[in-house]
């Protein structure tokens, strides 16, 4: 290694100097523009990997909202910086740090996968960059492990489980239930919430079958359902949903057992199903494309026109997160640089999204309706004959603590398998 050649070195110095001056100029102009420049929103979504489809839904929903309002708020332009988390906490952490520290976003929005939630919240804590938690539903984020800079606009997992347990016992009149649930936090907490309210009411559990995400063969699962079960309850995510559906009918289980799903056939999977799905209780969730309100009709029509499909709750959550953050930014006259003011605004404004009226509780989780839905076939003005989830029962203004006292709930600890 010798430095024999002097000429290029001098050139290098000159180049470095220009670069440094350039950087300084850019930095200076950045500081000057800080108040009037664009508002940058860091979006964390799985663009690739096992949950790529919900990830795309999320980004589509968010983009649709901002396009509808001309990509601006309080006189400032809005830029979305999308990063791919691949549904891997490791990658979510790295990307969140990049958005916060390198891309200098004003706040983060996302992630989608439940187990990425705590990882991204950790980055918000480290850097002070506010996080508007979208689809990721880990209970702990708005319960045992709260971060002052994190607010949630979608849902916490057990929030939709609790009303479903009540529905199972009091409406379905189930007494001996077998749960088939995805073996990861989301599944544990949705199924756990449902089992809690159902058994509190007096119901019995025949069996709980935990399957890892991506279980390829539901034949084995179905063979394990106890014969004295009166109702089977799937609480499933990802590819497993379709496999369960196929196995259910192909093994003739529809003739043996009743089925009411706690969390199963969302809008994104319905186009793949056939008429056998009609009449199934598909979900207990905070949004269904079949909600009959002017807000929702406007949203679903716009979404259908643009994407030739109906939105799932992932798209709606992101859309509403757009509405919510824009309302908050508007109320502080666009000064997102003031992080405390932004977070305070997020905590005080109330919005009416496609899924209904929303506001945060004292623990930064939305109070909202939960809908028990059923699959029906409708004639859509844009899409023609489509399967759609339609609410058959609405639990209004459900808190993440259901009817329990928050202090008691917190003392009891998280739902585990």
């Amino acid at each position: 290694m010798g430095f024999r050649n002097r000429q290029p070195r001098a050139q290098w110095h000159a180049r470095a100097l220009t670069l440094a001056i350039g950087t300084a100029l850019v930095a200076a102009s950045f500081v000057a523009q800080a108040q009037t420049g664009p508002i940058r929103i860091g979006v964390l979504a799985p663009i690739t990997g096992p949950l790529a489809t919900p990830g795309a839904e999320m980004v589509d929903g968010l983009r649709l909202y901002w396009e509808q309002v001309g990509n601006q708020v309080a006189g400032r332009k809005v830029e979305l910086v999308v990063a791919d988390t691949t549904c891997n906490p490791d990658q979510a952490l790295t990307q969140a740090r990049r958005l916060a520290l390198q891309e200098k976003v004003h706040f983060l929005l996302g992630p989608l996968c439940g187990h990425e939630g705590p990882a991204v919240a950790q980055v918000s804590k480290e850097t002070g960059v506010p996080l508007v938690m979208d689809c990721a539903g880990a209970d702990t984020v708005t319960k045992w492990d709260r971060t002052p800079t994190v607010v949630r606009t979608a849902v916490s997992a057990s929030q939709i489980g609790h009303p479903f347990g009540d529905y199972l016992y009091n409406t379905v009149k189930a007494r001996n239930v077998t749960f088939i649930a995805s073996d990861y936090t989301w599944g544990h907490e949705v199924a756990g919430g449902a089992m809690k309210t159902y058994t509190d009411a007096g119901g019995k559990i025949a069996k709980v079958i935990w399957n890892p995400l991506g279980t390829k063969d539901y034949g084995a699962t179905i063979a394990a359902i106890p014969a004295d079960t009166d109702v089977v309850v799937p609480v499933l995510a990802g590819v497993d949903r379709l496999r369960m559906y196929e196995a259910w009918f192909n093994f003739g289980m529809n003739k043996k057992f009743k089925l009411h799903a706690g969390y199963w056939l969302h809008q994104d999977v319905l186009p793949q199903l056939d008429d056998r799905a009609i009449g199934l209780t598909s979900n207990a969730v905070h949004y269904a494309a079949g909600i009959d309100t002017p807000e929702n009709r406007a949203f679903t029509d716009a979404f259908a026109k643009k994407h030739k499909r109906l939105p799932s709750w992932f798209a709606e959550s992101a859309y509403t997160a757009g509405l919510w953050t824009r309302t908050a930014i508007d109320s502080i006259k666009g000064k997102v640089e003031d992080r405390d003011a932004f977070l305070k605004a997020m905590r005080t404004v109330q919005v009416k999204g496609p899924r209904g009226a929303l506001k945060l509780d004292a623990y930064d989780n939305p109070i909202q309706n939960v809908y028990i839905t059923e699959v029906r076939k409708i004639k859509h003005p844009v899409l023609g004959d489509v399967l759609v989830n339609v609410p058959i029962k609405t639990y209004e203004n459900v808190s993440q603590f259901w009817t329990y006292k928050p202090e008691e709930f917190l003392k009891r600890g998280p739902y585990k398998r």
Binding site: G49, A52, D217, N250
Partner: protein
């Protein structure tokens, strides 16, 4: 008791699919000594092409042929332009084909999207069949067992009873000697490689109809296929048959009886077997 019978049938029907996937892999290793980590990606692409054909024509049989042929073309290009450069270097082959699998998987994701998709099978294969002993079982999966057995018999006959089979077997044992007898080894390689690719693509179509096709399915199936050929012995057709049965049954019963240790039940016996018989049950020393 019914549970055990049902799990056994589950295991056997999965074994039928595993045999289809693994036979291609083992053939191409046996003759060409190629470790093709992109075999799972071949399966996935074959399945997706079949899916598009079913959607366009509604013909499942055409889809099986199309899936197979599409992969034959892909496999030919890969052999010509990639694997040729790796020669007999297994390390290079492994890395090349892993890289190829990443590329193929990503391209497939952009064409067919991230949803898990299901191939529609012909009407008469849908629904359930009632078996004796009050067991209801999906018709399609019973048909799959039959299909797997037929393919196995045909392959075995070709392999054991025809002149072509004799040449291939001789090539597995000693390539140089076959070349010395004046047989065009290059053409033989192309032929066997095409057969292996066809099997992979076709199994993607039949497998996609009950396992669904989705990004990541390529690795899922590859790992199972690898276990099958490792247990059975690399390069052995009989090994692939027995291996598929063992793996299919271990998998079904493992996930039923010891769900938390199902991978352990599957992989640990294989690791032990490898230590006792490094070449697998039917593998011959090379």
């Amino acid at each position: 008791m019914t549970g055990a019978v049902l799990q056994a049938i589950n295991g056997i029907s999965f074994a039928a699919l595993l045999f289809l996937v693994a036979s291609g892999f083992t053939l191409s290793f046996g003759l060409m000594r190629v470790v093709n980590m992109a075999h799972g990606a071949y399966y996935l692409i074959g399945g997706y092409v079949g899916l598009s054909v079913v959607r366009a024509t509604g013909n499942f049989w055409l889809a099986i042929a199309a899936g197979g042929i599409a992969v034959v073309l892909l496999g030919f290009l890969v052999d010509r332009f990639l694997l040729r450069h790796a020669g007999d270097n297994h390390l290079a082959q492994t890395l090349l084909t892993v890289g190829l699998a990443f590329v193929v998987g990503d391209v497939a994701l952009h064409i067919w999207g991230g949803d898990s998709l299901k191939l529609q099978v012909p009407m008469f294969l849908r629904g359930a069949t009632e078996l004796p002993g009050d067991i209801v079982y999906p018709t399609y999966r019973l048909a799959l067992v039959l299909f797997g057995v037929i393919v196995a018999i045909v392959l075995w006959l070709v392999y054991r009873k025809t002149q072509l089979g004799a040449v291939i077997r001789a090539g597995v044992d000693d390539r140089e000697m076959v070349a010395a007898t004046g047989i065009n080894v290059d053409r033989l390689f192309v032929l066997v490689s095409a057969l292996a690719s066809f099997l992979a693509g076709m199994s993607g179509v039949v497998g996609g109809a009950f396992l669904t096709l989705h990004p990541g399915a390529e690795w899922e199936i590859l790992v199972y296929a690898l276990v099958v050929v490792i247990v059975g012995g690399l390069g052995s057709l009989e090994g692939a048959m027995i291996g598929a049965l063992i793996v299919g049954l271990l998998d079904a019963f493992g996930r039923w009886l010891l769900p938390e240790f199902s991978y352990f039940v599957l992989f640990a016996p294989m690791a032990v077997l490898l230590l006792v018989r490094p070449r697998g049950l039917f593998g011959e020393a090379h």
